[in-house]
């Protein structure tokens, strides 16, 4: 079976800084990582391949630097990697991104066999939209399975797949037909440690690099800023509250007195909460 995994190289958002004057992102010294949610998708893909045979192709769209992430994916045991990079893609929103990726997946299909499953993480940590996966599914006519926590029976001959997915208030078990697009819920299975042989192979592997034309993309109006119906009109730092927190004076007070003072202030600020707390306490 042929599996495609879409990953994204993202700035480690825990270490992002905002320029105090311009409100722009200061990227200096901010390390880039594979979007952590994508690693769960990659691991599920590798497990599926190990179970049923076949190959895993990893795909990313991004700057040339994103090759590092692909090479890392190969180290984990993916079989091949494709980097889709072109300045025309700059400024893509979710719609334009799903277009470019779906075209590249089609090209991957022509080159190495039509994929049976396309995997993505549930969302990225820089965009947090969770919309590119569904967008790809729609464009390629793949059956969409989002927030999947477990993959059950897969019958390649009958072209069927069963999964468990997170739904509101519970777990939904679905059966559908291949090809399908699966977005993987976090915490499913930790990414494996690649074997030395895989690591050596990955270190030497050629990452396939495609620009727009090489990926078979001819309609440039669907790419990048031109292909994005949404536009960012304003970027700003959140406004601070006019007044800062009123701090309890800790001088010459025992911790017990401070706790009393804090409780009193809470009851003052929220009239009625004391009664509710008592009502709750009475239930015990």
């Amino acid at each position: 079976m042929h599996i495609v995994v879409c990953i994204k190289q993202v700035p480690d958002s825990a270490q992002i800084r905002v320029h105090p004057v311009h409100n722009t992102i200061m990227r200096q010294g901010v390390p880039t990582i594979i979007n952590p949610y994508d690693l769960f998708a990659l691991e599920e893909a590798l497990r599926l391949r190990d179970r049923l045979g076949g190959a895993v192709t990893v795909l990313t769209m991004g700057p040339p630097m994103a090759e590092d992430s692909l090479r890392k994916a190969l180290t984990f045991g993916a079989d091949r990697a494709v980097l889709l990079t072109d300045r025309f893609f700059a400024g893509s929103d979710t719609l334009a991104t799903s277009y470019a990726l779906s075209m590249a997946i089609q090209k991957i299909g022509e080159s190495w066999g039509t994929p049976d499953v396309v995997f993505t993480g549930k969302q990225t940590i820089d965009g947090d939209t969770a919309q590119v996966g569904p967008g790809i599914a729609r464009r390629l006519g793949l059956n969409q399975l989002t927030y999947v926590s477990a993959i059950g029976a897969v019958d390649l001959a009958a072209r069927t797949i069963e999964v468990s997915r997170r739904a509101e208030g519970g777990v939904q078990e679905l059966a559908t037909r291949l090809p399908a697009l699966i977005t993987v819920l976090e915490g499913t299975s930790e990414i494996r440690r690649g074997r030395l042989a895989d690591a050596l192979r990955a270190a030497r592997a050629e990452v396939t690099v495609w620009n727009a034309a090489q990926a078979g993309i001819t309609e440039m109006t669907k790419c990048g800023l031109r292909g994005s119906p949404t536009v960012v009109k304003n970027v700003f730092a959140p406004k601070g509250r006019a007044t800062k927190a009123s701090l309890l004076d800790t001088r010459e007070k025992t911790p017990g007195e401070l706790a009393e003072a804090m409780m009193a202030r809470i009851f003052d600020a929220l009239p009625g909460i004391e009664g509710d707390l008592l009502a709750h306490a009475a239930q015990y």
Partner: protein, 434 residues
Amino acid sequence: MSLEVFDAIVIGAGPAGNAAAYTLAKSGLKVLQLERGEYAGSKNVQGAILYADALEKLMPDFREDAPLERHIVEQRMWMMDDNSHTGMHYRSDSFNEEKPNRYTIIRSQFDRWFNRRVREAGAVVLCETTVTELLKDTNGRVIGVKTDRHGDAILADVVILAEGVNGLVGQRAGLRQELQPAHVALAVKEMHFLPEEVIAARFNLKGDEGVVIEAMGTITKGMVGTAFLYTNRESISVGIGCMVQDLAENRVSSSALLEAFKAHPSIRSLLEGSEVREYAAHLIPEGGYKAVPQLYGEGWLVVGDAAHFVNAVHREGSNLAMTSGRIAAETVVWLKRRREACSAENLAEYRRRLEASFVMKDLKKYRGIPALLHRNKHFLDLYPRIASRAAQIWLRVDGVDKRSKEGEIVRDLRAARGWRGLVGDAFKVARAWR
């Protein structure tokens, strides 16, 4: 599965390892480079100084795409006491040359870029892979490495250890001793982020110009050590380091020293309004010439910090690392071309070449300094105070005539050390410096 054989394995992807692997790969050798971190430089998020000359000898065109922060046009050397600094500034427009000599860099970015060039040169680079032990044959000759990844050992004709100051591979294999507290400094650094234009205004800089401040004095509380401040494009690196032995004897923590340094009136205003984002502590091998271990053996070489190639007096390290890495690699290439084995006897050529280079010459020149400073605490405590007081006396206009002021300064000196002490100190410094 058959064992894979390389011409050379380089352990580590810092400046020394990258220089070695790059040189080997450029010469067409089959090279494997192994790095513990997620990527080269991932363990090193801090600012540093790049000395262009050492890198230029490897890749003359590095300025085209290397991630450089600012080129240095001004050096300030400060001697500090509790609330003042005296010192020397040198700034020159001639540093605004076509190919500047020194740059500030962010190591994580720089090392990563350097390592990418190594890969492009043809080396096989494996990150997130820790060498667990050196593989030896029955004669004790190093023939390869084992890693923490599932799989066989990897063989090579020679292993170059560029694993850094506290590299465990060489220590475990008994190639060198464990670190001595007298031979290593502990430095703590922070990155303080500020808008580019604020840095430019605060340090009187334009474009990519940068400033370096190196400071010593009471800030290290009499211990042997120095503090520094570098301007990057959008941040300031600030740090302080002291010999581990001194820190242990005085029961002082480096982070407390750094807090005090940052609070010093001469430094505080330079950092005002900045956002601290990164804090890191690391060891620097500052034992000098006397701490240099055995540099080669049967099938192995050691380079960079692992070989204690740091000139603490001039705060140079990465250039010695790159140069030693390059020379080690050139030695291997030279042997390969002559179809000679990487035996200890043949690899002795590495040491000979190092001796002929600035690396060993400079270390030799300052061989006495570390011990001298350790034994003479007053150098970094008393003299800065005297210098500060002298400057106060000299600059304060208070109706006292200048001859009397001179007399007071001289009396101060004599009271502090006595003529005998002063002459002795001068003699000691001169001997250590020569």
